[in-house]
């Protein structure tokens, strides 16, 4: 009886929530259609400016309110104290550069930034080359790409379970501990707690997620190399690994770098893995998660903003590079 009541209230909740959601969409589309209808009647000289206003206005306003103004304000807040009441000059930046705990954070972030993208790209490249000649390659590609579909929170839980460790006297339920024990390591450590090993175990999760992306993009780039190039190299006597290093790799160099920078951007901004698996404890904190903790757990808006600015400055050259590459590519086509 009680279970039935519970289920009833649960279903009411479902109906109300989904109703709100569908209602919001209906209202949104309704308002738009009404505006379209009204603005569509305007003719003559008013027509064009009105169309620009109606089509572009909402996006521009949302972008100014949601990105441009916050960008300026975050920079402003980074020069103020924890509750933004006083101007403190560069003190927050000084704190970020001189505090020991933040050194650990920056070091971890730097390690993530180098190791995870390099590992994912290298593994992706090797797989792209090896998979091509196999039967049922679509199956392998799908399965390796699959982690890209799931959330980083989901990935974090999946791997937290793999790294689960118990006292060696008990049966293990984590795959890694079991594997270590069956390989003859009688007392494997508690993986998640062992610093600095835990940093690399967390990076492995990012590599697990991003390798499929690297593989798919690089595989497409390899297939796009013109036949004449490889043929010519072959006639000149290039074979095997030579062909790979002196023909394939240079031909896809741009793509390799773009994959690398793209994974770097994701790595820099991702905080979900850390948050789910260690919460930033045991010496695994990174910049993106520290920014969140400072802002919304310590309520130190000055420091939080400062870390956001540092993150922004770190991401900026990478994204700028990708954008420049994109423009180049569009011009040459």
């Amino acid at each position: 009886m009680r279970a039935a009541l519970l289920a009833d209230s649960a279903w009411t909740d479902v109906t109300v929530k989904l109703g709100n959601s569908i209602g919001a969409i209906a209202a949104f589309l309704g308002v738009l259609l009404a505006i379209f209808f009204a603005a569509g009647r305007a003719t003559g000289r008013l027509g064009r400016p009105l169309a620009v206003l109606v089509f572009l206005g909402p996006a521009v306003i949302l972008l100014i309110v949601g990105l441009v103004a916050p960008l300026v304000r975050t920079i402003y807040l980074s020069f103020r104290n924890d509750d933004s009441a006083r101007f403190v000059g560069g003190r927050n930046y000084g704190w970020a550069l001189t505090t020991d705990s933040i050194h650990q954070v920056l070091l971890n972030t730097a390690l993530w930034l180098v190791i995870a993208p390099l590992a994912a790209t290298a593994l992706g490249l090797v797989l792209a080359l090896l998979i091509e000649r196999m039967k049922r390659q679509a199956v392998y590609k799908s399965l390796i790409f699959m982690p890209m579909a799931v959330s980083l929170v989901g990935a974090g839980i999946i791997w937290k379970f793999v790294y689960e460790a118990r006292d060696p006297s008990q049966p293990q339920i984590g795959l890694l501990s079991q594997l270590a024990i069956s390989l003859g390591w009688s007392h494997p450590p508690n993986w998640i707690l062992s610093h600095p090993l835990n940093n690399f175990l967390l990076m492995a999760v990012m590599v697990w997620v991003q390798t499929g992306f690297a593989m798919v993009v690089l595989s497409a780039a390899i297939k796009a190399i013109p036949d004449e190039v490889t043929e010519a190299a072959r006639l000149d006597g290039a074979r095997g690994l030579q062909l790979f290093w002196f023909v394939t790799v240079p031909m896809i160099r741009t793509t390799v770098v773009v994959v690398l920078t793209t994974v770097m951007i994701t790595t820099l901004k991702a905080f979900d893995i850390i948050r789910t698996m260690t919460g930033g404890n045991f010496g695994t904190q990174v910049l993106a998660n520290e920014m969140y903790s400072q802002s919304f757990e310590q309520y130190n808006l000055g420091r939080g903003s400062t870390l956001a600015v540092v993150l922004f400055l770190a991401v900026l050259p990478l994204v700028a590079y990708n954008i420049v590459q994109l423009r180049k590519e569009r011009e040459t086509r």
Binding site: F55, L63, A149, A221, L243, F244, T276, F312
Partner: protein
């Protein structure tokens, strides 16, 4: 299962004659992924395309039984953790705590009751199950996909076809806003939503009481999605045939009519790709939800709840895995059923955030 990466051996569109019959160009994603999108935009791809000699040569040099073993090993390693999660979520509590999930190969004793418990009963030492959070995920993701999709299609159309002085500059600024990481906007946006906007003592925008509702999350996702969405859709919309647009104008159609009856229908592939990408992005998001929805069952999605539980109740693995698998199911179904759209959208949007 279809192949995520399609061989790009078709000639480039530029070399094809007959522009009238040329297929509509597809979403132009980030630089490195051009070949994928280009290949996939060409309809009628064949399952078995002839392998070109150059590619064959490189392949051959990598061909050895060892290579195959390596690929199979990586595939197994990449699949096993997720399989372990699924297997654990289907095992009884006692079995999960007394033996590893690989025991299912020996004692296949599977149940579904963990899912019922985790959805409706809780069992993490907290009351209530995950059902409200699952519903929140859905109720957040659908509008947060529709809003930016429509708004950015409108903006892209205006920038491409209702040209005005400075439209290129506006497009470039929107495009460049992709460099701003989410983190840069969180604090000010949260302050805006909870405290309004003031300039000195003048209130520009009053504080809106939106706590415990989806509105801040929808708004934040919409704002953050706009630069990428506008950029991608602009690439597509700007390449619609000029003749068609001019004919519509000659027929006296207003911009609104053109947008509704020509642009939107022709853009369906690009819209679908972006919609799938954005839906999964929102579904999988933790940062925006954590900041703007709080952690309560009124508005927080699955990801927020799972991150909480993973931190505090790691012991009940049979429930945590069931909860995690529930939230993974949606992306996995989308992935395996709409793989082509999915990969295209995902590659195009991989720099987002």
């Amino acid at each position: 299962m279809s192949d995520p990466a399609v061989p790009a051996s078709e000639p480039a569109p530029e070399t094809q004659p007959a522009p009238e019959t040329r297929p509509i160009p597809d979403v132009r994603p980030t630089p490195g992924v051009q070949p994928v999108a280009k290949a996939q935009s060409t309809s009628g791809r064949k399952a078995a395309q002839p392998v070109r000699p150059g590619v064959k040569a490189v392949r051959k040099s990598f061909s050895s039984p060892l290579a195959s073993v390596f690929v199979v090993a990586v595939t197994v390693l990449w699949t096993l953790p997720t399989f372990g999660l699924l297997a654990t979520s289907l095992r009884p509590k006692e079995a999960v705590s007394s033996s590893g999930w690989w025991e299912v190969f020996v004692h296949p004793d599977l149940i579904l009751s963990n899912y019922h418990t985790v959805l409706f009963e809780g069992g993490f030492g907290v009351s209530g199950g995950m059902m409200p959070y699952l519903v929140n995920s859905l109720a957040i993701s659908v509008p947060a996909t529709v809003f930016p999709l429509v708004l950015s299609a409108m903006a892209a159309y205006a920038l491409a076809w209702v040209r005005f002085k400075g439209s290129d500059a506006v497009f470039f600024v929107i495009f460049a806003l992709q460099v701003v990481p989410l983190q840069m906007a969180l604090i000010p946006l949260l302050q805006l939503f909870s405290g309004g906007a003031h300039l000195g003592s003048v209130t520009i925008l009053p504080a809106l009481d939106m706590g415990g509702t989806y509105v801040p999350v929808w708004l934040a996702h919409t704002m953050f999605a706009l630069p990428l969405a506008t950029f991608l859709l602009h690439n597509f919309i700007s390449q619609l045939p000029r003749d068609l647009m001019e004919a519509a104008v000659v027929d006296g159609a207003s911009h609104f009519k053109i947008f509704k009856s020509i642009v939107l229908p022709l853009c369906t592939p690009a819209l679908a790709s972006f919609a799938i990408f954005e839906f999964l992005w929102v579904w999988n998001d933790l940062l925006v939800a954590l900041t703007f929805a709080g952690g309560t069952p009124e508005a927080a999605p699955m990801t927020v709840r799972l991150a909480q539980l993973s931190g505090s109740f790691g012991g009940r693995w049979e429930l945590l895995t069931a909860g995690a698998f529930l939230s993974l199911m949606v992306p996995l179904v989308v992935f395996f059923s709409l793989q082509r759209y999915f990969v295209r959208g995902l590659l195009a949007g991989s720099v987002k955030g």
